[in-house]
Symmetry: D2
Subunit: 267 residues, 4 copies
Amino acid sequence: MSEPGVKHAPRRVINIGSASIGGESLLVMAGPCTVEDEEMLIATALAVRQAGALVLRGGAFKPRTSPSSYQGMGRPALEMLQRAAKLAGMSVVTEVLDTREVETVAENADIIQVGSRNMHNTALLKEVGRTGRPVLLKRGMSSTLAEWLAAAEYIFATGNDDIILCERGIRTFETATRNTLDLSAVSLLREITGLPVIVDPSHSTGKRSLVAPMSRAAVAAGADGLIIEVHPQPEIALCDGPQSLRPEEFAILMGQVQRVRETIKSF
Amino acid sequence: MSEPGVKHAPRRVINIGSASIGGESLLVMAGPCTVEDEEMLIATALAVRQAGALVLRGGAFKPRTSPSSYQGMGRPALEMLQRAAKLAGMSVVTEVLDTREVETVAENADIIQVGSRNMHNTALLKEVGRTGRPVLLKRGMSSTLAEWLAAAEYIFATGNDDIILCERGIRTFETATRNTLDLSAVSLLREITGLPVIVDPSHSTGKRSLVAPMSRAAVAAGADGLIIEVHPQPEIALCDGPQSLRPEEFAILMGQVQRVRETIKSF
Amino acid sequence: MSEPGVKHAPRRVINIGSASIGGESLLVMAGPCTVEDEEMLIATALAVRQAGALVLRGGAFKPRTSPSSYQGMGRPALEMLQRAAKLAGMSVVTEVLDTREVETVAENADIIQVGSRNMHNTALLKEVGRTGRPVLLKRGMSSTLAEWLAAAEYIFATGNDDIILCERGIRTFETATRNTLDLSAVSLLREITGLPVIVDPSHSTGKRSLVAPMSRAAVAAGADGLIIEVHPQPEIALCDGPQSLRPEEFAILMGQVQRVRETIKSF
Amino acid sequence: MSEPGVKHAPRRVINIGSASIGGESLLVMAGPCTVEDEEMLIATALAVRQAGALVLRGGAFKPRTSPSSYQGMGRPALEMLQRAAKLAGMSVVTEVLDTREVETVAENADIIQVGSRNMHNTALLKEVGRTGRPVLLKRGMSSTLAEWLAAAEYIFATGNDDIILCERGIRTFETATRNTLDLSAVSLLREITGLPVIVDPSHSTGKRSLVAPMSRAAVAAGADGLIIEVHPQPEIALCDGPQSLRPEEFAILMGQVQRVRETIKSF
């Protein structure tokens, strides 16, 4: 999967539990937008694990635009995530919003997520870096590649170089999709940095029907992984229902992206 | 290649010479940014035809930002395109800029291109529609999907429904690429319209190294075709050298996109 | 009105009938979005003339996003504009969309407008330049200042340097206003070019209540003129009713902008 | 200064030391980008106070894109700001970046600033709200008005309604200015909210020569105040030199904006 005449940066492989990212295999993270209820969470974890996802995603602290939107269950959700992941044989990725919660999140998560709204929150970047945990750094919604990599520098500067970059769509004038997924960024980042790059087709598009084609396109563009919202009953989800896949849709998608990955591996 | 639960619009297949677009096969258009010299054009046509491209692209009239940039060779280029295409067994796509040139271009081209800068040029849309020729309608660089489809309506309104939509990147704040390629648009257009949708990975990225990965991603997202800049010696090209593929790079790319297409066909 | 330490380009003053733009006085152009009916047009012309506008605006050919929107009355509107302007003692500015109509428009207008959707229409720019008439060149809705000035170069290259630049808002992610009015551009253009710069507060904001404050701000930023939509009964206007001022609102606005102009003249 | 037919929200006046904002007078905040040295700070404070600024701005904690840029002096700068402001008879506004520093900043500042990069940092918004101090909430660089007001809701929700909104330019495709100042937002916010709205012409434009015309335009658009970077020697400033005014330039500007304010007061 090399372009003629392009010298890519040496790849950095990061271990996540017994899995890894940045190497031969695609790493898929899946789960609900937010942790709502332990039973639902366990069922989702078992389903996505069986389909091939190795990391469970789920929000404990939610960065919502409005204070009247659901803000997440907080710390109890962290423990539920850990229990569900353990049962299913998965790792956990979850977001932290406040420097004062970083330690607690680090104790309960295998990957700490810094979300799009906090990409420029330098105090948080430093604190998260210091935990030594792998960090999933989402692109700010109006951040250039240069600014995104500068944000990663705040984490590097703490001595932590386990950074996974996540393209999640940028803000443009187009309103047909929630954001505009920038897949060129994925390929370009692979030229200029060795860090693993994953794609979030759920938040970027905001539409269930676009999650599968954008996942396939992301893998064809060279992404090292995907992070996908899955909910057993999207129609009653507390957040992001319109873009969440049902477990059976996710299983079909996993088969597709694995086959695209196999195809491009030989290039 | 259908998403679970998504009802796509019925596909419209458009015949282009002995080829077609919108059906089972990927249609690839390739050639130089601008027609510079007949010998070079013929060599390029033969090379891209051998690699599998069935339509020859090449600019006779160039819509340049500055009047001091090369404006194209004009009418003589149209005849050169026709001769080169005939020799190579291809069809011709070329852009028209002026209502007064539409007739001449229609006589010499199998597909008439309306470029990004003229997507809102309603006088031109109507005139091009009236020729009855298939039209390649590029997305305006800051056009929403709704506005793009409204521009297509100007062509439909003349009774011509042979319209090929071409995603070529939109203008955003990001400067690392020339434009931001919006592949979600490709998948979304396939839900809401039956028109063939192709992708221009050359103008959208402005970087040779991104043409292959974005071509693969476009095909994985469901594109019906591609339009790619190929030049035998990009370093001396009169325009768009930095994003033009050499014929041998194009041949590798063609193999890759055909294999991605095969892979997703079974989904 | 000079900034300490800033060397502005020498101002170019353009004569428009017995008035002028680019010099001491503010030049205001006003009238309906589109010519609908001669009686209404004359009433509007007399009213805006009395309030101080010296140029009558009105669309004969309308560049509408959709072919099912009203496209303008065409050539008969040009004659109505001329008659109304003559009656009121004004000059005429109107838009041309097609190279084949340039001559007719030039015969009937004192200023030929190239609209935002056609800023990149190089064939039209050249043809309009050749008439020798003053040209009102609107900024493309996603055009940088550099691209806008490059479009002006197409007109200069024909030997015509009577160009008035019109800032009319750019396309951004913000949806609270129709476009985002870029008043910094007005001041910056006055540093780097001597051409007169005017502002269109009607199209840029799309909201009647913002027309007056943005007109005042434009004048405070140094604009040489304004172009404003005025309609005797905005609620029944064929287009742009929500942003059209009633004649009595326009008269109040004229008083305000003249006073702001007086104030900043002494700086 | 009311538009015909527009019902504005009732104005909220906020007291800042012996001054106020949102009422009859314009409130101007001025000072260096970052606190560099006490002597320079005092000289700047005395100069801007004499010119009419009543609030001293200066960064103790700087949110820089790159970790290798100057990050600010931290807590010692807070005390220097307080001493300089006291000497000059001014209030202090300064930015906080970390929930753990909010208390310290609140003890040393009259207005706590939440910067553009942290507008979506909900943890910080809540903590800042709880101090009861007036909050200067800058617009996120790619935030819609609706999202900006939703961020203000996080502060309201703590029972603190002393919120000053600050327009500081949005991110667009235009690169001629650092950001695109959105003055329509100022007028529109005055219709839909009673909160005071100020404008930052320094960060939005990034160019010294544009600070004065954009300040005049902001006041003409109805802004309740301005926040302006002033440095005694911009050529050696640790940050934002190219957009900082010299004290004598600032004094001229103050005279101009006061006269524009007087002019529009009568409208």
